[in-house]
């Protein structure tokens, strides 16, 4: 074979291989994620947590979430799953400052590092701003947990045998878990379970709603208070904001 002819042929071969390898990219690039329910169309969900109203010994939101989402509790800090959890904090200065109780959940970042990281787009951001995991596609590589700077992701290290809420799914082991603002409830026009529980006991520390609508409860609270997200300097633009942090 002549050198020139050979070069030509190998060039064609390489280009062909490259095209073949790039083919799967096309549908991936063309696909956009749509929200089906009219209850969520055009919305941008967000939450404000008023720490002045959140009692230290109250776990109403945690219990409601656990029940609603069939969240596994294995009795071991290494593997327990918390879609919403509470930490008790104290200011460093002055030393005698009071303790505050802070509910932590997925921040549903506008720029979510977990969704960037996911190799199969199992974690993605819906058009209404919710960051959600497709448990049927996830391969369990845990890169999202590595990428999330907020420790908001938990992994089903063990099989979960409890299934109190048969209306909602239960995860098998091998996939990660995080808060999805109870997307299944939002799609039906209901509020997230934690928010509903907080309202039921009349604490009203969790304020949830549409950030796009200036008349919504959450927008009014943001307009009238000094709110901030956790470590906004990460540039992730959290949509869970706090009063009194």
């Amino acid at each position: 074979m002549e050198r020139r002819e050979f070069l030509k042929k190998s060039g064609v071969l390489l280009a062909g291989t490259a095209c073949a390898c790039a083919l799967p990219l096309l549908p991936a690039a063309a696909k956009s994620i749509n929200v089906d329910s009219e209850n969520t169309a055009g919305k941008k969900w967000g939450m404000v947590i008023d720490l002045n109203k959140c009692a230290k010994d109250c776990n109403a939101c945690l219990d409601a979430c656990r029940k609603e989402n069939n969240v596994a509790m294995h009795g071991d800090k290494r593997w327990d799953i918390h879609l919403i959890r509470k930490v008790t904090l104290k200011r460093k200065h002055p030393a005698e400052s009071p303790e505050i109780s802070v509910p932590l959940l997925c921040n549903h970042c506008e720029r979510p590092p977990c969704a960037q990281a996911c190799p199969v787009k199992a974690t993605y951001k819906r058009e209404d701003g919710i960051v959600i995991v497709d448990h049927h596609r996830c391969i369990g590589c845990r890169y999202c947990m590595i990428s999330c700077p907020y420790n908001a992701r938990f992994f089903n290290y063990r099989e979960n045998h409890e299934w109190p809420n048969k209306d909602n799914t239960r995860s098998s082991h091998g996939v990660p878990e995080s808060c999805n603002f109870c997307a299944h409830r939002l799609d039906k026009g209901k509020k997230p379970a934690c928010v509903e529980a907080c309202e039921e006991i009349n604490a009203k520390a969790l304020i949830f709603g549409d950030l796009n609508d200036p008349g919504s409860d959450v927008s009014k609270v943001i307009a009238g208070n000094h709110v901030r997200g956790i470590r906004e300097d990460f540039g992730t633009k959290p949509k869970v904001l706090y009063i009194g942090l």
């Binding site: 050198r3 593997w79 799953i81 590092p113 960037q116 199969v120 890169y143 290290y157």
Partner: protein
Amino acid sequence: METDFETIEGKSTQFSVLLAILAVLALAGLYATYRMYVEGIYLSGMTNRIPWGLQVILAVFYIGLSAGSLVISSLYAIFGKKEYKPFARISVFLAFLFLVAALLSIISDWGRPDRIFEPFYHLNPLSMLSINPFLYNVYMLICLVYLWAMFKEKEKLVKIIAPIAVIWAIGVHSGTGAIFGFVPRELYQSALLPPSFIAAALSSGTALMILVLLLLFKVTRRPLDENLVVRLGKLLAIFIVIVMYFVFVENAYRLYMPVSHEAGMYFLFGGFHSWVFWGGLIILGSIVPAVILFNPATVKRIPWIVVSCVLVVFGVLCERYIIVIPGQTHAPDLFPNMVVVSSALAEGYVSYSISFYEVLQALGVVGIIGFAFVLGLKLFKMMPTEAKVLKESDSVKSPSEEKELEKQTVAS
């Protein structure tokens, strides 16, 4: 000089015993992976705070080894150093196998290894873990074509594909570094990781190749010119210095910048991983081998070269550990002005310990790859009959000279 390649005989008892041991290791690894697949990966030492453990450490380690062994073949195929031709086939074969080892490690680590084809259907062009499989798969393909070309003695194809392979290898290692470098965690986030991954890959890969070659030539009783090994040792010395330079810059920057000072102090003086860093990477893995290989008296002695190669491979394994683990045990401080009094999750600094099942998995990968390597030596003509430094007279000739020679031989 023409290099003759042949298969190894593989009829001795030791050969069969070796294959049997490797097969047992492979089965043990498969068993551990099966248990984890059925019961969940809580059997590993990983937790909600440490989602990546031993398999990821080893995967990036193997990927590094893969590049290094490719370099040896490029010495011959790109730089025309014909004295390294005897090693070319083995090194590309190993490069391919190490990449398989890396992929096996990663896939056995997944929570859902049954969904192995999902990454092919659903690419995420933004994800480093999606870009990398693409790089790895094409790299394996290139390695196979490269091997085939060398077996068929297609010199021109080898000359074309060798630079492609090396350039692609650089992409593979930059991409692997980016898996960690492009993550918003204080001890991961770094633009230096991709290039420093290449450096560590070159040093560990060259060191391991030297060891493999020495061992193979000794076990199969083939003549190996010590000067060749000495030259590779000198090359290794340069790679060690480059790795140390990257490590120095990275840590100096971390300590200097107020935002990462605390994380840098934790990295250097914060627990077990600091011992791995100072003892494993810096002293044993870099300084000692560098002293040996830069000392004209010791670099000429094969036992000393073996010692330094073992230390370098160990050092880079330590480096992989301190890339993967401390970045997780040290989480970003979510509340900089607060103290965490209590939490349902382990906050602050945590620790990671390797579990029995993880070790089994790791041994399994070694078993599978070792089995394939030994069997490959028996099935394919990979072992050169001898390897020696070429004299001036029969060193590389320019293509025109070679053609002249051919004409003369044809004419005669």
